[in-house]
Symmetry: C2
Subunit: 409 residues, 2 copies
């Protein structure tokens, strides 16, 4: 475990940096029962920052696992009413939403994937205000990690528990830039650093990106004519700056869901609800997934793609230079929050409204017309390698190198 | 910690004995985050017994404490809507309600008592179906203990943590009759043993009980002409037998709230929401509290009595022989579930509908007319001593010894 001081500094960063919690605002924090010590610090920091109320919601992933094992798939199409009232309620009251991620990457391995996606679909349907609050920039939201014995054991299987926990906490605090003298200032500087690159990308107005590497990826992704690249912090419609992912190293946009062609090969395993998909490839034709295969967990991949029609299309493409701090730790975190920031990635499913001009004022139908995909789900998978080349293609055919050998050209 | 086997046996007793969970029935279990290992076993036992669903609700008492310290009293008059939906929902669906009690007896010491009672009042108002489900025999409910480091440290302040936990768990499993070869059979036998005494008391039709001891207690409590004594297990209106308190050693009734006169001196400290009241006395005139004092925590006692008009009257008198197993452990648990079963006690506040014939079919007004007190609260306090004498007084003036020297006459 990190020192009490280091943990308090992290809690302060999450509340005052990540959430940028305002006096009078509510905070909602969800965490596994193993994270109670961190949650206590977060709750205290929130009141110190002037929170009007803090709602803490604890779950136990072993209890969740027993539920998945013991209940029928039908049961998972019912989202508990009280949880919808809880989640929609805090969202509607403008709460900042803070999610502590500490799950065992294999915690749900072997669970019937139909149960996992039935529950995700039910949750999305029942929690409209909650989802929209995040998707349309009404609520501040932050995902951040915390080490748990189960997670640490998966990442460092050869170390004793205490040492594994120590190593994972170190990597978490380092990559979250929480271990310096002034983490809030470090994050402001980090946030600034994204601005040049997003400005350049937004100026280029690429019509498409072509991805190629030695793994076999050969893919062309169409971009929207008024598409926007984003990264680092975000700003709510009412002007509150926040950092949704801590850590974050990615610059991303939502491509045109109708114009994706070719083959993409994953460069890292995909952890979906605790189940792993390894060594997989996905093929696209006219924007739609037309074939896929995986050496391990193919049924998980199938259930992701078959969640709905929107899950057959891309909702995100993200640029992450090879050799960034997360990738440099050399740790395979088996947690998307970290691993997606280690490498370039794509996502199947829902796109981001804020990735086209004025998108936040549009409904799902209008967004789709503008090229922004809609789906119940959004699943990232890593494709970046040390030899990845990304070429920007303009409408007039001009080609501009974006990534060469895995890093910015 | 007890062995995995002992803990599993306890979980099985709570689910299959205490709750007597039926196939297809739901289970609701609430516990502190420290009790996740026990909750996991309970959830597994519930599904093994055929539960249709298990809802586990975790709280963290340190987070609760921070909330009490940081929010204004006004905030505690608002009960969160989602918790009302949760609690009323499970009650309305006929769930068995299982409460794991492991709280630090001093966890809420120093909290403004107005906040504690404001929250209790708000909870009672918001959770009518939940309260009625328990009060009117619609829902099975069980309170049982589990050792936590904070609780163990209060009970055994001179022992190292591990040894204190060991001792407290031993006392919990022993007094809950969970450590024999067949705990379910032990509980059936224990339940039977209450029947002779409740039958005798119900036959006597005492008009009043007179309490006297050397502490200064000299009190006459009027009983209802059609009052009923109960103890051990209870049965829901639909016929499901259950054990609300594990352990239990008490035989109790609700006296006539209009006929209590004299002075009663507490024989043990009262733990109310984590705050302790010590060495206190309460005086009654014509059924109503007319004076009180305490050497410590008098403000807590005042806030209990001033919760509402009903809190000025008695809702329960319970007979517990001195020298019973809980008292014999010699442990002052600082937890009402245990300490109330160590000694005769009374309660201020709400009475029990089932303690008059046909009472479960009556509303609060009709119950009050029959002598059953109504209040937002119900607070037990211990009065039993080794020299307590209780005399039954019949309507014709005949006197019958009930307790002599602290035990059944």
């Amino acid at each position: 475990m990190p020192s009490a001081e280091a943990l308090k500094k992290y809690a302060h960063l999450l509340v005052c940096g990540g959430c940028n919690l305002q006096p009078g605002q509510e905070l909602y924090v969800s965490a596994d029962v193993t994270q109670a010590p961190l949650v206590r610090l977060i709750v205290a920091e929130a009141y110190a920052a002037g929170a009007s109320n803090v709602t803490s919601y604890f779950t136990d992933e072993q209890v969740s696992r027993i539920n998945y094992d013991c209940k029928s798939v039908e049961r998972f199409s019912e989202f508990p009413e009280w949880r919808a009232v809880l989640q929609n309620g805090v969202a509607e009251r403008g709460a900042a939403l803070l999610f502590i991620s500490s799950e065992d990457p294999m915690g749900f391995a072997g669970v019937d994937p139909k149960k996992l996606s039935a529950f995700q679909v039910a949750a999305t349907k029942a929690c409209r205000a909650w989802r929209d609050g995040m998707d349309f920039g009404r609520n501040v939201w932050v995902i951040a990690g915390a080490a748990s014995p189960a997670w640490a054991a998966r990442v460092f299987p050869d170390l004793p528990e205490e040492e594994a926990m120590e190593r994972l906490w170190q990597a978490i605090l380092l990559t979250a830039r929480a271990d310096g003298d002034d983490p809030l200032a470090d994050w402001r500087a980090h946030d600034e650093s994204f601005r040049d690159r997003t400005a350049w990308l937004n100026q280029q107005r690429f019509d498409a990106l072509r991805y190629r590497n030695s793994l076999g990826t050969d893919l062309v992704i169409g971009l929207n004519p008024d598409g926007l690249w984003a990264g680092g912090g975000e700003t709510t419609v009412s002007g509150q700056r926040f950092y949704p992912n801590m850590p974050t190293e990615e610059i991303y946009t939502t491509p045109d869901w109708r114009r994706v062609d070719g083959v993409v090969v994953a460069s890292m395993p995909l952890n979906h609800g605790g189940a792993l998909v390894r060594d997989f490839r996905v093929e696209f034709k006219n924007g739609r997934v037309c074939a896929w295969s995986a050496a391990e967990g193919e049924d998980i991949l199938t259930s992701i793609i078959e969640t709905d029609e929107g899950a057959h299309h891309l909702g995100e493409c993200a640029l992450v230079p090879y050799g960034n701090p997360i990738q440099r730790t050399g740790v395979l975190f088996l947690n998307t929050l970290y691993d997606e920031n280690a490498a370039c990635h794509l996502a199947l499913g829902r796109g981001f409204a804020e990735c086209v001009e004025g998108g936040r004022d549009l409904d799902a139908e209008a967004l789709k017309e503008r090229g922004i995909n809609d789906s119940m789900t959004h699943v990232d998978f890593m494709i970046g390698t040390a030899d990845l080349t990304i070429t920007g293609i303009k409408a007039n055919g001009e080609e501009v190198p974006v990534f060469v050998n895995g890093v910015w050209a």
